[in-house]
Subunit: 430 residues, 2 copies
């Protein structure tokens, strides 16, 4: 007989935990109708049981002892909402051993150790769901596992870090420089005191590791992902890009070509007509190109208590449906293939390159000559006189070129006597 009551244990009651509890409680009646059974929070294990919480809690929920979740045979689903690799990994491992289904929003753990945990869950025929780990409330994991599952996915490209998108939006709309926009993001609570994880692209790298693994049906290790942040983007770059018809966004890019994978995170110029180009502020969006569906995009809030809580609660609902129908494990790990991630030097794309040069005759021709020697052909070039002194600023946009060739050409160009500095180079996506 199908279970009448499904019980959830929660590990962690921070931002995501609170949003999950609030979502489950506010919409309890609807959720239970959809499951066809009662859904009860049984225990919530926290580090500080006496701390005041922003959500209403029922008596007996809170415990300081994680074993009260792990060892409770009545608990069917464990929602791990602690974050970070340890102790989250050990708790999940133990919960799987006790036959509990897992829901998590832990991107770092998923990216680094998801494959092993998913495999273990499959072996035990237990569910392991993780919608909340990428792009907050946007149901993108599910979209790729179900709605787009009949497609060969060619690309998955996301704006998946709200902090950096907020900073870049402020730089673009208000002309602020990076440091100023970062300070404002910190003041508003959009960036942490130590912003490294967001600003340097590591957070986005975890997320594209997860998305690319699902999209390309092959495990993408975050260590193989080139991650580059936005700290070297200037308000001037954004202005030049706009004149050329592009926005600058921090993109998390997965591509599949000829059986190998590109997985990289870096700022990129994106044509204004691209659907991702108008995704601003803290919003996230994921753009997918599939063999049948063509181009689709999913847009929404990528972080925050309730949006992420929406994703975690939806996973709990799905797992509960599986428990009701005895169909746990029906959507498991889909990394059936073993494709390699190609090194950055071998990618081909277009490049925006900004440099300071002497304002003398033949400078352009000299530099263009070096590009030519390395097989880099130029699509457009704009020279701007700098008001003070004899120097000028040149902005190049190349045609498609091999990254290695561009890098080597720029090393030679930087040493030319007429070149004061190669100020920045940014990839152009289309």
């Amino acid at each position: 007989m199908a279970k009448e009551v499904i019980r959830v244990g929660i590990l962690g009651l921070g931002t995501v935990g609170s949003g999950t509890v609030q979502t489950l409680q506010e919409n309890k009646k609807d959720i239970e109708q959809k499951i066809g059974a009662r859904l009860e929070i049984k225990k919530i294990a926290v580090a500080h049981p006496d701390k005041k919480r922003p959500v209403p809690l029922e008596p007996g929920w809170i415990t300081g002892d994680v074993n009260e979740v792990m060892d409770d045979p009545e608990i069917d689903i464990v929602a791990e909402l602690i974050g970070g690799v340890e102790p989250a990994r050990s708790y999940i491992d133990r919960a799987l051993d006790s036959g509990k289904h897992i829901v998590t929003a832990n991107k770092e753990l998923l990216a680094k150790g998801g494959h092993e945990l998913l495999t273990k869950a499959a072996t035990h025929r237990l569910d392991f769901y993780f919608e909340g780990s990428v792009a907050g409330g946007i149901p993108i994991v599910q979209a790729m596992k179900i709605g787009l599952a009949a497609n060969h996915i060619e690309r998955v490209v996301g704006i998946v870090n709200g902090t950096t998108n907020y900073i870049l939006t402020q730089m673009a709309q208000e002309g602020k420089d990076f440091a100023e926009a970062l300070a404002e993001a910190q003041a508003k609570g959009y960036a942490e005191a130590d912003p490294t994880n967001d600003v340097e692209g590591y957070d986005a790298a975890y997320k594209i590791a997860i998305l690319a693994s699902i999209a390309f049906m092959s495990r993408v290790d975050p260590e193989d992902i080139h991650a580059e942040g936005i700290a070297r983007i200037t308000a001037g770059d954004i202005r030049y890009a706009r004149e050329l018809g592009y926005a600058i966004k921090l993109l998390a890019i997965g591509r599949q070509e000829n059986g190998s994978i590109q997985a990289r995170v870096h700022p990129a110029l994106l044509p204004f007509a691209h659907p991702l180009a108008s995704v601003n502020d803290v919003f996230n969006a994921v753009f997918v190109r599939g063999s049948s569906v063509g181009e689709v995009m999913f847009f929404g809030r990528g972080a925050g208590a309730l949006p992420t809580g929406s994703a975690v609660a939806a996973d709990i609902l799905e797992v509960a449906r599986n428990i009701r129908f005895g169909s746990a494990g029906r959507i498991a790990c889909t990394c059936f293939e073993n494709k390699s991630v190609i090194p950055m030097d071998t990618i081909e794309t277009k490049y925006y390159i900004r440099m300071k040069v002497s304002d003398k005759p033949k400078v352009l021709a000299t530099i263009a000559g070096v590009f030519g020697e390395f097989g880099v052909s130029v699509e457009s070039v704009v020279q701007k006189a700098v008001p003070t002194g004899e120097s000028a600023e040149i902005v190049w946009v190349t045609h498609q070129a091999l990254e290695k060739n561009v890098r080597e050409a720029l090393e030679v160009i930087a040493r030319l006597p007429v070149v004061a500095e190669v100020s920045n180079w940014i990839r152009v996506e289309e």
Copy 2:
């Protein structure tokens, strides 16, 4: 023991049927890995068996006799891709009686008779999936049934008709009038010879009936939906709207407030900052506001062989997973409630109103006085002299007002001696 081979019968091999077959065949290996079983097309019943088809077909697939699908005990899933109410409804009914799971892309049937068919499927514990019936390849049905299922949905607003969106985009970008843009859409194959269904909003009404029923967990009958098309939108309206900061889109709107439902299809002014405002050409998008997730949007191709085939094939994959796991019926009809759709006269929104008047003193004051008598307060008014003659054009934007009051005020205003005509009035959404 779980089934090793799952067999599909298809009814209809038009646009959607061809796209479905192509998708299933091209990605057969990946799809079968995801299901964990073989997936075979067994029979495709068509009206004209000898007609040449745009997809490669295996010998023995095609039959002119629908009974070869209906009576084949080996067929597990019937994909109904004929469209229209009859004979599609009868075929589905019969297939359910024979214990076959259903996948369909039939919006008209779903909107008009979905509730009965879904109830019957649930009684027989059979799957009934219909992702392809709304917004082509965009997995919006699934998003609301799974990914956003833990939310109380407050709004679902879509651009769900590609034909009218193409026409409005042409009018906005090229300054064409409606007739010219329609003719071009017909020439390009985006509009049918008889464009009534698209242009008058009926197609969009079927789709919002489906979306609103899922979102609000209560059956929305298409007969209760106010459907208004785009034929009376002029290039001038679009120009004025742009000056005021708005795009004009054909919106399919579902809202839930205080336990009752609004469901309506009509052109509307939408602020340029709204994510739907930049959805152009034949693209579709569905915007959802949920209690926890906040604002999310799903964007992609709403029609065409392969995008809709992507949705139908994904449904087949999901049903096959359920067959493998014995979990058919795990996501069934969720219309647990019985909420009423409120009449148009009782909605409150803002209005854009364009009228031709005599260019005489006190005209504005006279008209504003009538609005005031009906409790309609004015947010802004712009008067433009018309080059020829003594008339002027006035564009009003009201504050939130009751539709009944606006309608009645305009009836009075149209009879004023100084008013030549009330040229158009269009609702403003925010």
